[in-house]
Each structure stands twice: as C-alpha cells, then as structure tokens.
Symmetry: C2
Subunit: 493 residues, 2 copies
Amino acid sequence: MQGFEWISTLEEFEEQSARVTDWIAGYLRDNRRYPVLSRAAPGEVTAALPASPPEEGEPFAEIFADFERIIVPGITHWNHPRFFAYFAISAAPVAVLAEALSAALDVNAMLWRTSPAATELEEVVLRWLRELMGLPQTFSGIVYDTASIGGFTALAAAREALGLDIRELGMTARDLPPLRVYITEHTHSHIEKASLALGVGRCNVVAIPVDEEYRMRSDALRAQLLADLKAGMQPMCIVATVGTTSTTSVDPLPEIARVAQEHRCWLHVDAAYAGVAAMLPEHRGRFDGIELADSVVVNPHKWLFVPIDFSALYVKDPEVLRRAFSLVADYLLTPPLDPSTSSGQAKLGVTHGVRNYMDYGLQLGRRFRALKLWFVMRAYGAGKMRDILRGHIALAQEFASWVRAEPNWEILAPHPFSVVCFRHVAPSVAPEDVDDHNLRIVDAVNQTGEAYLSSTRLDGRIAPRLAIGNLRTTREDVLAAWQLLLEAARGLS
Amino acid sequence: MQGFEWISTLEEFEEQSARVTDWIAGYLRDNRRYPVLSRAAPGEVTAALPASPPEEGEPFAEIFADFERIIVPGITHWNHPRFFAYFAISAAPVAVLAEALSAALDVNAMLWRTSPAATELEEVVLRWLRELMGLPQTFSGIVYDTASIGGFTALAAAREALGLDIRELGMTARDLPPLRVYITEHTHSHIEKASLALGVGRCNVVAIPVDEEYRMRSDALRAQLLADLKAGMQPMCIVATVGTTSTTSVDPLPEIARVAQEHRCWLHVDAAYAGVAAMLPEHRGRFDGIELADSVVVNPHKWLFVPIDFSALYVKDPEVLRRAFSLVADYLLTPPLDPSTSSGQAKLGVTHGVRNYMDYGLQLGRRFRALKLWFVMRAYGAGKMRDILRGHIALAQEFASWVRAEPNWEILAPHPFSVVCFRHVAPSVAPEDVDDHNLRIVDAVNQTGEAYLSSTRLDGRIAPRLAIGNLRTTREDVLAAWQLLLEAARGLS
C-alpha cells in the first residue's frame, strides 16, 4: 500500500535519523567548540540560501550538509554551557527525544478526545510540578507555549473576573472606568504587551515604586489603589514577580496579597524563571504568599531542562478562563454523547473527569508538550532536579563572591537565585563613561565566542549580568567567564 | 569537565536515541495497526500514572516502556493515513528530524542576534512559500504557533490601524465607537475568540449572511457596513476565508476587497487550511483578490507536512504590528551598537537588514520553527508538494463521486479542495431522526478504530465530513472509510 509518500523510503529514513541523532549526540557531548554568540553578519545566512525553493526534491545529505554549513554558524547556542545571557536554559537529551516523539505523533491536544493521553498527561505533570513546588491543590494548571501567553491569559481572566461582561459587550461605547494593572519597572514586558492587547492601554499600566532591592513597595501599591479608586478607576490586576528578569528580585507576596485581598483585586504571580526554586525547601520561604495568588506562571522551559516551549499557568478558578475564552464551534462536534463535546456545559474536571484545554485560552491548536516534562521528571527524579538547581544557585553565589572580592568590581543587586548583576568601576574610567565601559566589557567577552552575557539597566546604570541555568555548566565555565571579564576590563581600562 | 549532568552518559543517549528513532521509523512504516481514535476511557491514562513524581531518576527503558504501554493507547493518531477528521495533517519524516534538531539547539528566536539563522531562515522560507502561493512581494511574513495567534495578531493590527491610539489610551473611559468585526457563521472560531480578547465584544462580531454555497454575501456585507457607519459604529476588520473549516467554502475575495477598500477597512484572509492550494495553478483562481488583503494566514502545519505548530501570517504593513506590540525592555539590551537592539527605532527590514521578530507579536519566546519547513520544502521540492496536494484533492473528488452515485447518500456542500460534507438519508429513517442517524454512523465508523471522521452542522443539519490531508493516505484508505460508512449506515437503517 503506497501513499503519497514519505519522499524517502523507510530505509533512507533510518539512515537519516541515525545521522541526525549522531549529530545531536556529538552536539550534546561537546558544543563548547562553537562560539556561543553567532558570528554571522546581518544577511549572511540569507545570502547563502537560494531566493526560491527548489522545484525538485533534494537528497537529505545535501540538506543536512547545508544545515551544518549555513545554519549552525548562524546559531547563538542557547544550549551551550557558557550561555550566561537573559535566562540560561537547557534541553535535556531525554527531552529532545520526547520532542521527536511528539513530532512523529503530531497530536493536536485541543480536545480530550483528540488525544486523551496528551490531555491527561498534561494534567498529571502539572500536578507533579505543583506538588514539587508546594503549591496548594486549589491551583489547577494548563500548558501554553510561553509566559507571554500565560500572562496574557491570566490578565484576560482578571478582566473577565471584574464581572463587566466585556466578553459580550466589549469595552467601547460603554461607561467603563479605566482598568488598572499594577506592575513595577522590573515586571517582565509581556505584562505590558498583554495589557495593550487587552485594551487596558499603556497609560493604565502603573509602575509601583520599588525599594532599594528592586521589590515592589506594598505601601506604595496600597496608596496607588486607594488613589485610583478615589479617582473612579477600576483595579484589574496586580502583578507580582518572584524572580524579576533583571535582578531576580522577589516582590513581597504576603504584603501584596493583603492589598489584593483588601480590594478583591486579581493577583497574578510571574514566577516564570524562579518558580522551580520553590522545589528547594531552603528557598520555599521566598514563595510565601504565593498560595494567595489567583494565578501563577512558571516556565519549565527556562530552568527545568525542557526545550522551548513550555510554560505552565496555574489558576485558582479555571472557570474564569473558560468564561473568557470558551466558544464551541459546530465543526468541533464529535458524535455522539462524547463527554468531551459537552464543553459548553462541562464544569472543569467534573464532567466525566474530562477537560478540553482549547476552552482555556486563545489557541485552538496545542502541541503535545507534556511528554517532554514527563520524560525529564522521570529521568532525573525530584532529588536530582533539586541538586541541579542548588548547584546553579551555589555557582552564582560563588561568582558573586569573586566579584565582591575583586577591587573595582561591584555587585549591583541582591542575587537570591542564579543570576548576578554587577559592574566594573575602574578609577581610570570617568564616571560618565562607566556605562559605556561596561557595555564594552560585555561586548568584548561576547566577541571571544567563549561566553555570552547580556546586561540590563538598574537605577539608570548599565549592569552586566551573568545567568546560570544550563545543565552542563561547570564551575570551570563560570570561572572562564570571570577570567574573560577580568581580561576585558584590563584591556579597556 | 563534568557538568550538572545530562543524567545519562552519552553512550546511553546513543542507545536511547536509537531506540526512539527505531520506534518512530516503525510508527511511520505502519501506524495503521493503531486504532485512529483512541479507545482510552476518561481517566484511564491518569489512573495508570503515579500521583507524585519519582524522587529518584528512573532508567530510560522503564520510561519508554510506559510511553508505549500507557501513552500510545491514549493517542488519537493525527499522523495516521485514515485520520479524516477536522483537517487531516502530516508530520513528514524529515520534519520530525528537524524538530529534534531544533529541540537540541533550543534556540529562542526572539531577537536576530539570539540566532541570526533562525530569524533569517524564517524570512527565507516565508518568501519561498509566498512565491509558491503567488502572493505579491508586498507581503512580509512572520511565523507563529497557530492560526489562533496569527488571526489575533492580524485583528490587533487592524485595531491599531484605526489610529485611535488604543495602545496608549486603552478602550475605556473614552468616547470610542463600537468596533465592528465582520465574519460569517463559517468563519473559524478563533476570530471570535480574538475579538473577545481585544475588547471588541461578542455583540460587535457580526455574522454576514452566506449564500447557498456558504460564502459571504458581499452585498450583505456592504449593507451592514453602511448601516453600521450610519449608526456611528467603526468597522475594524473584515475576515474572509478561503477554505472555511466546515465546508472549505471560498468567500468572494474580489467583491469583499472592494467593500473593504470603499471603507478603508482592514481585510484579513484566513487561508489556514487551503492557502497552500494556491500553489496549484488550476486552483489559483480561487485566491483572486488575496493580493488586496491587509493580512493573510496560512498554516503549513495543516496541509504542508510540517508537524504542529507552524502558522504563517503575511501582512502588507508589518510596521502596524510593531506599533501594536513593540516594547523594548532593558534586560534585552545587548551591548554595544548591535543593530538588533535598536528595535525601538529600527524600521522593519531596513536597519542593517535585521528583524527582531519579538517586536511583531505577543510572544517573546519563539521556537526555531523555520527549520522544519525548510527541510520539507527541500526534501520534497515544489513539484512533489504540488503533486501531493493534487492527489489529496483528486481523492476527495473521487470520494464525493462515490457518495453522489450511491442511493440515499447526498453531498451537502461544494468541495473545492480535499474535504467533503455529506450525509445518509435512508427512507427508513424519520426526517427528525436524520441528524442522530448520521451522528451514529460517524460514531460507529470511529469506534471501529479503522478510520476517524468528524462532523459539522450545515443549515441546521448534521453533516459527516471527510477530510484528506495525510501524506500516506491512499485510495485504499479512502475506499475503506467509504465501505465503513456504508456498512454503518446499513447496520443503523
């Protein structure tokens, strides 16, 4: 029985997959040989590719040769042990294999029936993660691609929870008060993007002042809410962060939650990066108050070794998500008496224990993402996952101690997790040039290809930033980055 | 140099990947042995899994055995040649390998510099696809996960293009007119979801009547716009579909575009499923007028053999997307003088030829999706891709001819592409029972495990629906589905 063809015979596929998995094994064994930051010039990759697609199919060997010749040099190696920029991430080998299996199955987990195992495994791994993080069972979870979408969904739920019937009536031509979203200057930009999209308006996204450790000031938050209410505005959502992107600062959840409760305002906690640190008893205290949140985002694709993308949203009341998003189309009916088609009426997790995840967000199409987290959790086990996180945090603390001990270097922010903000302040560098000087240091390190760091701005000052999160990062790697920083500073001072 | 560990040694990884790719090869060789629709009962997968994650890591062999024992029976096999539900899809083997490579690289293509090859390959493959579809070069493309997000983004751009400064000022406490979105009852539900999210309100999503072939009536559209304008409302977006989800009907683009132009209203064309049929000269005429659209969505993960997810949005004026979404955070600064960091000022595709795709949508995190489409386009070549699409369409037409030739069966809608809506109307079945009867027929077929169909509702009547789109679907597979339908109808009449 021949179909329209896999293009290659299966024997060819076996050869091809052996070639690809050999390459991946080699890549995982030693990708230190690649410069972390790609050296490709703008347009260089494009110039190496034909302007038009081929009319005839090409042999796999040629395609793969071009992958190695054209694509790989244009890659910035996020899965590299010396990637210290943004948040450092990892794709565990078992998770790479899980992604291949997911791709081969090509499941769309939109309805329970369109793959019961995809929906139920998603529920199970999110319960596992919830338990490991010590989140109460009152939270139920859903997987999205990114924290951007998880945060957007949380804000949409917060808007829906106001009871203003925005779903049906919209936001125009009505006497609606301004809807206010409370963040800090350290809140991740996706919250502001979501607010723009949701019609809140940038002018209603209010940055609450932070204290000297870049944490939201709850007294200022309370004052702002009171002032807004007095002015006839409607608080919609307070966004607190555990592990902000610049410094990994931790907003004071118990105090913020109290303000949220006083005004019955939705509290969203962005723990996209640091959330998994709640798995460590010695860090659990930083998450006190998270149980009072209405929604929490945590990204296993950041610091739990699954390849991008996988972001988990936990919510107290998933029914609000359904109210915001559920629409059941005729072409999704699957006859008859299928519990999964009753989503119009089903209460989440109640009717026959079946959940149709498409009802809880914007996206109808949903990859089978749960498989990779399941593979990772089983292959590593909770104990090993904790060890790795602890190891990353210890390395960051050691790096900070090196910075602190070195003349002319300073730490610019507390570093509770695995990210350190610092800078170089040489006597030979004029105060007005310190920012440029530090940008040049980071650039010099990045140009070596031996490590890749990013920077941020704190109180107006440029802060180079070292983030640890790759499975294979060793003390030697961090030490190498430090030596490169020292050398660059010497060369530029 | 030992890191925090891949958990397994690389020798183990080689064994593991051989095991996984063998399994995938076997799966692709003959997944006909699986029932297409999973027979798992609600809760069955969950019950087979422990309530808590393991404390100690487990051997890969055990994890993989559980994958086969627990997960696979809970899979509804979208990549099966007898999957005829919703829209039938395929994961080409080369694309599965590309996904494994993407996962191993674990790239986040948020900025050009965070992997120049990911950004530039995305531009290149979208130009290739544009050329194959005959879209004018005035369109520039971006990849999202799903059409739900692509459509949402198009509508957000349409809202931004109104010049009402909703980005800054929001939609509340202002004297804004109702913003109107024009669809038909056959428009995909993601447009309505997007409208809810964007604060348009369900009451402002107007279903324009369709003609007897389920196509938007442009005279009714024009009348609605005029009435709305007279009532002080603001048309925001007209959504036309080439290949609606229920019947694959084609809205009359040239006439609709004329209405859009008369009122300077944004025209979005949803060609998520059928767009790739524009690659066939004999079908190109169905896309006449698409060049007048402001935005077009087409999903290679539907009918172009790449695994979920991959949806392309083409827009005439990407600058509007940037205006709607761009926010540049301090922690994304990468020093110094990097062309890719000037996105706050950069004009798309102008500044050093560099594009930061994160500026054009909600999501900051972006998988390296371009690789799989590149692999497919090169492995198959344009000629073979056209052959396959033609083959699918021909099979659907042949199936329709069987239905038409059989007593008591009828075709319920035109079938320009690879989807056929039909039903059984036996003399023995009372008119009021015809819907139930047809639902039972589909269910009986699905329960055999030999094929999987879905149904829709047309003019209030239940319509079983056969969709062809899998690479390996043969005439024998379609014939088998037809025989199953005939048998089920006999058994139930």
